[in-house]
Amino acid sequence: MSGASPTSRTSTAERFSGRLLISFTYVAIALLVIGVVLMLANGISPLEATPIFDLATLRSSVLALDPAAFLWLGLLAVIAAPIGRVIVAGVAYAADADWLMVGISIAILLVIAIGIGAAVAGTV
């Protein structure tokens, strides 16, 4: 990697980002499929009351084969894919010493973090 030119490093980052997005998508779809199959097997109607999202109990719920837990995990994987892509691109730009793009990558992640923080705090 150290001998690679900036262009080839960016190109590698694009390829890696692409694979990351595709991999995350398939993982997300797989988790969602498991969740939906469990949901249907348990006779749960999609129009029933929305289950509560609780990160603290997610692991135990997955082990208990709770359909909602697999669906939540799938949704988290969906959302993580684009965030992972930005992180990969940011790292590649840092390797190129392209600090403007590194700053933009960090700023994008900050906007998302502020959104989560504001929603948790109930200010939006």
Binding site: L32, L75, I79, A89, I108
Partner: protein, 278 residues
Amino acid sequence: MLVGLLLLGGGALAGAFGALLGLGGGILIVPLLTLGFGLPLREAAGVSLISVIVTSSAAAGVYLERHVVNLRLGMTLELFTATGAFIGGSIAFLLDDRVLSVLFGALLLYSAVTMARAKTEVGLEEGITPDTDDETDTHVRPPAATDPDRLSGPDYRVRNLPLGLVGSTFAGIVSALFGIGGGIVKVPLMHLAMGVPLRVATATSNMMIGITATASAVIYLTRGGIDPYVAGPTAIGVFLGATAGSRLAHRVDGRYLRLLFVAVLLYTASQMLLRGLG
């Protein structure tokens, strides 16, 4: 069980229809969930955002591997679409469902008019997995990192960047409010106003949708605006439908499909307007 299968099938239809016409499924998912399943528009928008991220991630992954995306331009504009999505996601929880319905109806009308006037030139849009047999994308050279104008590509020069930044913020707001990808704003903005070739604009818009929708989806998710029981089957359906639709796109006569789609858009627009005003 029946409702779950209907969501799966409806999502697949929306995804396939969208892919055949070069659109993401978002513009069809929201009416499907609100008019078909009686969900509040805000909840439908949250579910739609998830579906849009799934399909755009799959498509953007392929575009990135083929180096069709202008990553530098896309990430620069993404900062503004994400900011717009944060604003839109915040506004969405303040607006009445009926107001959102009227606004969405207006958006559908605009889409119908745009689609009716569109020429066959329009390429792949957001949320569509590109047909992997189509190798034409590889002929587009990637933007050079050493280009003096850092956001431009080797064969084109990006212009009107300030307009692009403002337009991207608007696209983010629209995306967050209605649960759509926002390509209907971003592609014309990049192609017509900023001078980006259509195929690059389409691929770059597609990649941007992931972060744009994520910025508002995290707000919807944190505020309990996404129901996993509805989002799961719908997202799987849209993903399968979009994948199948993109592979069938070359074998279907787009003219009749486009007319049918305009009719569907006009009908759903009228229903959304009635829902909001009635």
